[in-house]
C-alpha cells in the first residue's frame, strides 16, 4: 500500500499583508492544511519568477503567491508591478504546459486570516486532486540519472 499523496506546496508571501494574515489565522486558531511551506518576502514586488522556477526545480507540486490588495502595498506600488509580471509569467507557463492550477495567485490582507486558511485549504485540495507533478518530477529525476548513451 502506498501512502496517500500529500502535495508539497511552497508559498511566497509578502510580509506586510499575507504573512500577517497567516499570523492572524494562527492566532485565531483556524485550521488549515499543513502542506504549505511559507517563504516570507518584503513585498510581492520582490517575488521573481525565478523563485517559482526554483520551487518547481526542487520538487514542489504547487506554488502560491500572495500579497497585499492593490492600493494597500506598503511600498505603494510593488504589487502593481508584481501583478503585471504574474500576468505575463502565467501566460508563459500556461503556453509551456505547466497547468495553471499549480501556480496560484491571491491578495490576502493582514485582516483576512479566514481567507488565508480557506485559500490554503482550497489550493491544497485542488493540487491533491491533480496528483503529483509527474511531468516535472521526471525532468528532475533525469538530472540524477546516469548517462543514457
Amino acid at each position: 500500500m502506498s501512502e496517500p499523496f500529500e502535495p508539497k506546496i511552497i508559498a511566497f508571501v509578502c510580509t506586510y499583508c499575507t504573512y500577517a494574515g497567516a499570523d492572524l489565522a494562527g492566532t485565531s486558531r483556524l485550521k488549515y492544511a499543513p502542506n504549505v511551506r511559507i517563504i516570507r518576502l518584503p513585498c510581492t514586488g520582490r517575488i521573481s519568477p525565478m523563485f517559482i522556477l526554483k520551487a518547481l526545480q526542487k520538487g514542489a507540486d504547487g506554488v502560491l503567491i500572495s500579497g497585499c490588495h492593490p492600493g494597500d502595498c506598503h511600498f505603494t506600488h510593488g504589487n502593481y508591478h508584481a501583478r503585471r509580471r504574474w500576468m505575463v509569467f502565467r501566460a508563459l507557463l500556461e503556453f509551456i504546459g505547466i497547468p495553471p492550477e499549480r501556480v496560484k495567485y491571491s491578495w490576502i490582507s493582514a485582516a483576512e486570516g479566514v481567507k488565508f486558511a480557506e485559500f490554503i485549504n482550497k489550493v491544497t485540495e485542488d493540487i491533491r486532486k491533480l496528483g503529483p507533478f509527474e511531468q516535472y518530477t521526471q525532468l528532475i529525476e533525469e538530472t540524477e540519472a546516469a548517462a543514457s548513451l
Partner: protein
C-alpha cells in the same frame, strides 16, 4: 568479387547485431533535427543525409555527463561515481569526417590522465562509416587532407554501390571484422561496383595557412579583428564540431545532495577564461576566435601531430552570421600568398 551488404538486408543486420548484444545507433531525423540515436529497426535510419546536423561527438562525449553524486551526512560525505552505461554498440552510417573526428580526439583524452568516460565509450563502439557520394557547399574534408572515403577512425568503411542497392564492405579494424562476423552470412560476394565519390572541392591551402598561423608575428595580426567582427560569441560552432572537446565541471545541488557534472563548454564564451579577479586573458571576441583557430591548427597539431578539424563544415553550415573555419582559413591562405 567483393563483399557487399545489400540495403534490403539491413533490417536483418540490425536484428542480428541486437541479438549479438550490440545496440545499434545511426543517423535519424527526430523532432525536426538530424542526429545520431539508438534505433530498433533499420527503417528508422536516415542514410540519405549528407551529414547529420548534430555531430557524432555526443555519442562519446555527451553534452552533460554525470560524474558523481554526493550525499552529505552529519559526519561524512558519501559519493557515487558514474560511468557510461556499458555495452557494445554499433554506430551504423557515420560519415568519414565524423569518424575521423573521434580518432583526432583520442590523443587529447589519452595524454596524462586517461579519460575513462571517453575511452570506455570508444572501446565499446564499432563505427561503420559510409563513404560520401554527395556533398554540399560547406564540406571541406579534402582541404584537411581527408577524403569522402577516409577510413580514419572507422572500423568498417562502406562504399555505396553504383546501383544504389547496397554497400561494398571494407573491413578496417579487427573490431569491425568481429562485429561483421555476426552478419557474415548476410554479406554476399558480388561483382557490383562502387558509386563515384562526392567531389569535394579543395577550399584552402592547409599547409600555407598553418605556416601563417605558426608565425608568432601573426598572433597580433589585424586580421583576427577583421575576420571575427561579426562573431556574436555563441557556441554553436564549437558544440556542433566533432572535435571540439572543451568542457566545464559544474556542481548542481544543495548542501544535502547533488551531482557533479561535466558539461560542454566553449572558447567562444567570455566566461570561459575569466579569472575571479575580473581579469580575462581572452577578453575580446577576436581573441577567442583566434584561440579556436590557433588551437585547431597550431597548438593541437603541435602536441598531437594532427589538426583538430575533420572538415565536416558544420561550423560554417549553421553559423548564424555566416562565419566558420573555411572562410577564416581561406582568408589566411590568401594572406600568406
Amino acid at each position: 568479387m567483393t563483399k557487399i551488404l545489400f540495403s534490403d538486408k539491413l533490417d536483418n543486420c540490425v536484428e542480428r547485431w541486437k541479438k549479438a548484444g550490440f545496440s545499434v545507433i545511426g543517423p535519424v531525423q527526430r523532432n525536426n533535427i538530424s542526429t545520431y540515436a539508438a534505433v530498433e529497426r533499420a527503417a528508422e535510419l536516415d542514410l540519405g543525409l549528407i551529414l547529420t546536423e548534430r555531430s557524432i561527438k555526443e555519442l562519446f562525449f555527451p553534452q552533460s555527463e554525470p560524474m558523481l553524486q554526493y550525499t552529505i551526512k552529519k559526519d561524512s560525505i558519501e559519493t557515487k561515481d558514474f560511468l557510461p552505461p556499458s555495452g557494445q554498440r554499433i554506430i551504423f552510417g557515420a560519415r568519414p569526417c565524423d569518424a575521423s573526428g573521434m580518432a583526432i580526439d583520442d590523443p587529447l583524452f589519452g595524454w596524462d590522465y586517461k579519460d575513462e568516460y571517453w575511452f570506455q565509450r570508444r572501446n565499446e563502439s564499432v563505427i561503420v562509416t559510409i563513404a560520401c557520394t554527395q556533398s554540399d557547399d560547406f564540406c571541406m574534408c579534402t582541404s584537411l587532407k581527408l577524403a569522402p572515403d577516409s577510413t580514419k577512425g572507422s572500423d568498417i568503411l562502406l562504399r555505396p554501390l553504383e546501383n544504389k542497392r547496397g554497400w561494398l564492405v571494407e573491413e578496417i579494424t579487427d573490431r569491425g571484422r568481429d562485429a561483421f562476423k555476426a552478419i557474415a552470412d548476410i554479406v554476399q560476394e558480388s561483382a557490383d561496383t562502387a558509386a563515384p565519390l562526392a567531389v569535394v572541392e579543395k577550399k584552402f591551402d592547409l599547409d600555407r595557412s598553418v605556416a601563417w598561423l605558426q608565425n608568432p608575428e601573426n598572433f597580433e595580426s589585424r586580421f583576427w579583428k577583421e575576420i571575427s567582427m561579426r562573431c556574436i560569441g555563441c557556441a554553436s560552432c564549437t558544440f556542433l564540431c566533432p572535435t571540439c572537446h572543451c568542457f566545464d565541471i559544474q556542481d548542481e545541488g544543495d548542501t544535502y545532495s547533488g551531482m557533479r557534472r561535466k558539461n560542454w563548454d566553449s572558447c567562444s564564451f567570455a566566461l570561459f577564461t575569466m579569472h575571479t579577479s575580473g581579469h580575462n586573458p581572452r577578453s575580446t571576441q577576436s581573441a577567442r576566435w583566434r584561440q579556436r583557430i590557433m588551437h585547431k591548427f597550431n597548438y593541437f597539431p603541435g602536441k598531437f601531430s594532427v589538426n583538430s578539424c575533420s572538415g565536416c563544415g558544420r561550423c560554417s553550415r549553421q553559423c548564424p552570421v555566416d562565419m566558420g573555419i573555411t572562410e577564416t582559413l581561406q582568408e589566411i591562405s590568401k594572406l600568406s600568398q
